[in-house]
Symmetry: C2
Subunit: 171 residues, 2 copies
DNA sequence: TTCGTCATGTAATGGGTTACATGATTAC
DNA sequence: GTAATCATGTAACCCATTACATGACGAA
């Protein structure tokens, strides 16, 4: 697909907080081109006078690189931003990897909870009302994500033999 | 307070996703010093041979600048990162400003929801299972934050005369 | 004795956003 | 007619993290 279209799609899928900008999109495509991961084809669109689109397609090397990236289940994969991207492409990954990413993410979040809750009792007295409320809400949000992850992990495990619908997806 | 201590405090209050690094903390302090917003005092700590702490204190100009910053209730104040910081210092702000910030934030989140939900029906069929699940969870999280904000707004409004405990704070 | 914490700082590096530049087309 | 969308790109700028540098103290 071409850059403009790609941007729209990515913004739709992952554009909660920030939108992908042209200043990072196009240079990134050029980099992938130089690395040999994608090929470009210029395609004239309907009306002749219109600016031709540059359609990109993954090469074999690119596909291999994608698989390699998706099979990385290390710490970087359970960091906030990376996790979302990894999750969005879960369909292209083995269940083993999916489980490791989900569990890693959950671990990371639980670490955060412990860090805060360990010091919560200490600080709460001297802490500002609003600051405390912010923390309470933060804890709640993280706890909810942990719960969400747990359900997904369960669903993955249940589907050891047959692929499974994640909870919340329409039947 | 001195830099090291400040870092710990801020990480405790706002360090959900990222920890404040020395590389941004100390240069920032120097900048505020040059701007005349803070003063530094070198303080020898208990053991004589220990590295002296550099304790910072706001000047009158600094305090004024703080008040000015806190009374900015424009769009930048309801962006993700800024909002948290603004909220954490709500105690130092008038209720008017607090309300405007809370309502602005809620509006921003509702815009996001509309953007996604408007196109949700269109895309859901051609969308990947996991991508859809990610979106569903994202929507849920945002809806929850909207609800949280609504309660806070109500609490602020109820406390027009007397200052009020935010819901969730201990009585 | 070695590791973690206290405590302050600098330089390089990397990354992304913003703004600019261009120009045709479609919808109001 | 004018604004928004399609469509691709570049350059300047900002800003934050990472890694490095230094050194004393307390605990295991």
């Amino acid at each position: 697909m071409h850059g403009y279209e790609l941007r729209k799609r990515l913004n739709l899928m992952l554009g909660w907080r920030s939108l992908l900008s042209y200043g990072s999109l196009y240079p990134a495509l050029k980099k992938m081109l130089r690395a040999g991961w994608i090929e470009e084809h210029t395609v004239l669109s309907g009306a002749t006078s219109r600016r031709p689109r540059i359609v990109y397609e993954p090469t074999d090397a690119g596909r291999a690189e994608f698989v390699r990236l998706m099979s990385e289940a290390g710490p970087s994969a359970w960091e906030d931003d990376n996790f979302d991207i990894r999750f969005a492409f879960f369909s292209s990954t083995d269940m083993e990897i999916r489980l490791r990413v989900l569990e890693g993410r959950r671990m990371r979040l639980q670490e955060r909870l412990e860090r805060v809750q360990g010091q919560l009792s200490l600080t709460q007295k001297e802490m500002d009302r609003y600051a405390a409320e912010l923390q309470r809400h933060g804890v709640e949000q993280v706890e909810r994500e942990v719960h969400w992850l747990s359900e997904l992990i369960q669903a993955e495990r249940a589907g050891t033999t047959a692929p499974q619908q994640p909870p919340g997806a329409k039947a």
